[in-house]
């Protein structure tokens, strides 16, 4: 029995397979065609276990590109998939915070990873991967370098959380001679505050699972932990949580 999940995000497309309680996954850039990216990711993850598409029993699609996948058995929202996947990665967590390329969402779940409540920022780039990308570009660095850049620096306070205005502000600070490390630390501070206020709207919790591409930023994770005053767990496979959740939902569908 093979169950698969495909999560077509705005930046990366993720595919996950579940075979005999083990999970396999892969990530490819989404590029311009979500449909092709979905197909490529699925083929590559099948190759990992030497299986073919015919052996797939059930495929669940999620993410913004979910409707463009012709081969899925069912589509499910990324909110439900992330909740399910994250609580499988870190059982017992009550809140999942997923920060992706173009939105961020905080989800309260029960022990089984079922969604109880959620809040989502989907109208504005502030606090998303896109925001970090814009600022990294203004600093002449890559988004993957931001975490290191901020390490050990005090945080320069930033006034603007709008991606457009923040870019202007960053350029101004650079011109005034503020070290880039302080700007990045300040940026993390500002984003973490914004994310924390989303999380706090869901009520108290013991710990939080942090997923999505932005969760790979270790400095941001630490900053968030300090502000929230609770453990913020960023599992290594966090970016796969959506695809994994989709695969788990696919497995449920087969078992039922």
């Amino acid at each position: 029995m093979i169950a698969a999940g495909i999560d077509v995000g705005s930046v990366a497309t993720k595919a996950a397979l579940i075979l005999n309680d083990s999970f396999y996954s892969i990530m490819v850039p989404t590029g311009w065609s979500p449909r092709e990216a979905g197909q490529t990711a699925l083929n590559q993850v099948l190759e990992q276990i030497g299986a073919t598409a015919e052996q797939l029993q059930y495929v669940v699609g999620t993410g913004y590109g979910r409707v463009s996948l012709p081969f899925v058995s069912q589509t499910v929202t990324e909110i439900r998939c992330h909740a399910r996947g994250a609580s499988w990665l870190r059982p017992g967590s009550e809140i999942v915070l997923d920060v992706g390329g173009q939105d961020c969402k905080a989800i309260r779940t029960d022990r089984q990873g079922k969604v109880l409540d959620f809040v989502m920022n989907d109208k504005c780039a502030a606090g998303t991967g896109r925001f970090l990308q814009v600022i990294a570009a203004a600093l002449g660095s890559d988004v993957s370098e931001l975490s290191e850049q901020a390490r050990g620096h005090k945080a320069q306070s930033l006034n603007s959380m709008c991606a457009v205005f923040a870019e202007t502000e960053v350029i101004g600070l650079l011109a005034a001679g503020v070290p880039p490390g302080e700007i990045v630390a300040g940026l993390h501070q500002a984003i973490a505050r914004r994310l924390a206020s989303m999380v706090q709207r869901l009520g108290p919790a013991e710990q939080l699972v942090f997923t999505g591409g932005v969760a790979r930023n270790e400095s941001l994770r630490e900053t968030l932990e300090k502000i929230l005053g609770m453990p913020v767990l960023a599992p290594r496979e966090g970016q796969m949580a959506g695809a994994l959740g989709a695969a788990l939902i696919a497995r449920d569908a087969i078992l039922n």
Binding site: Y64, V76, T77, E78, I79, R80, D103, V115, L116, D117, F118, M120, D122, K123
Partner: protein, 382 residues
């Protein structure tokens, strides 16, 4: 199969434009209203046509933004936009506009609108529990009555006002009977059909004709139901929509719920269920203006403080309509509904149901991101 429930209602707004034009040419007067607080009984008693002009479409907003700030409720911008661009025939033919000091945005917008057409703005008190509020509202009703008498050269006798109260009550009762059909599970009418009917029927020049159409529709839906015709199945998630008002052109939340497999079985907002139970007592022999003032002070709108009536109504509707989840719609920059969402969320979650607040405007730009949230919300229901 496409539903034909709303058949006969889809074109009322368009068809009635000619009737209004003819009526005007024969000397009939017309008054444009923007709110459920407007005492339409007085307009009807004056023998004038009363028509709701609340802007529910995106198109005129660009015109409005030449004068009004962008960061303002789309309903206010749309209302003003229709007026300033002269693209609403009903505004065009109105002899007089009646507005109220409901929220900050509206009352200041009416100041601008007064440059376009004669506009009377009623001073709406905002604490419904104080005797002074009732007295103020009764005196505002008297001011409007006298203004209508003078403006339209007519006399608003108690008898005429009581007849208008009777007509308005009959309209509210037939609307309630229609909405109540959806207490059945499965529901009988989709949210989009219900909106089409309730929104369009307000454009009838002949109000008796509107009541007749609604009565026929109720019979039709009941006959259809007797033969197994329903909207959705017994397992279809039943959603209550509350918050800011919705009309044709701003129905995107209802459309998204119904495209995603749910059903908006009833709306609590104005234009929906909010006012159908609030009737002026026809047996009350006191001054009809006082009776009307008491009626209007009972409307549970978020501009009132306190406004516990809205929560009591939502609580009751959740039980009576067998609701599975509640969506609270806030138009961008509507502070009163936005803040009140805190209490609504509290109530709905205490009743063990999923709750979703959506803040948006009339544009289609966030339709797909809203779809994700609404689908995820419906997944919580199942």
């Amino acid at each position: 199969m496409k539903s034909n429930i709303a058949e006969g209602f889809q074109e009322i707004r368009e068809q009635n434009i000619m009737k209004v034009k003819e009526a005007k040419e024969q000397g009939q007067k017309m008054v444009g209203l923007y709110c459920t607080y407007c005492p339409k009984e007085l307009v009807l008693a004056a023998g004038a046509i009363a028509v709701g002009l609340c802007g529910t479409r995106e198109e005129p907003i660009a015109f409005a933004e030449k004068h009004l700030p962008r960061n303002l409720c789309p309903l206010i911008k749309s209302s003003y936009g229709f007026a300033v661009s002269d693209t609403c025939p009903y505004f065009h033919f109105s002899d007089l506009i009646i507005g109220e000091t409901t929220c900050d945005g509206k009352k200041k917008m009416f100041e601008l609108m007064a440059d376009l057409k004669e506009t009377v703005v009623m001073n709406l008190p905002q604490n419904p529990l104080q005797e002074a509020s009732l007295e103020l509202w009764a005196s505002e009703l008297r001011r409007v009555k006298e203004l209508l008498e003078e403006r339209f050269q007519t006399e608003l006798s108690d008898e005429k006002i009581r007849a208008a109260i009777n007509l308005t009550n009959r309209e509210a009762r037939v609307m309630k009977r229609l909405y109540d059909l959806n207490k059945a599970r499965p529901a009988l009418i989709s949210g989009l059909d219900m909106l089409t009917v309730s929104w369009q029927v307000g454009f009838n020049v002949d109000r008796e004709e509107g009541i007749g159409m609604l009565e026929d529709l109720i019979t039709r839906v009941q006959e259809n139901a007797a033969q197994g015709g329903t909207a959705g199945a017994a397992a279809t998630p039943r959603i209550l929509l509350t918050g800011t008002p919705v009309g044709l052109g701003s129905e995107k939340i209802i459309a998204l719920v119904e495209e995603s497999g749910g059903l908006v079985v009833v709306m609590e907002n104005c234009g929906g269920y909010k006012t159908v139970d609030i009737l002026a007592d026809e047996s009350d022999q006191r001054d009809p203006l006082r009776v009307l003032a008491e009626k209007y002070m009972k409307i549970p709108c978020s501009v009132m403080s306190p406004n516990r009536g809205r929560l009591e109504l939502i609580d009751k509707m959740i039980d009576e309509f067998q609701i599975d989840g509640v969506i609270d719609l806030t138009w961008q920059a509507c502070h009163t509904y936005n803040i009140e969402s805190f209490w609504v969320s509290d109530l709905v979650k205490q009743k063990g149901l999923p709750f979703l607040q959506i803040e948006t405007d009339y544009s289609a730009s966030d339709r797909e991101t809203l779809r994700v949230r609404i689908e995820a919300f419906l997944e919580m229901v199942k």
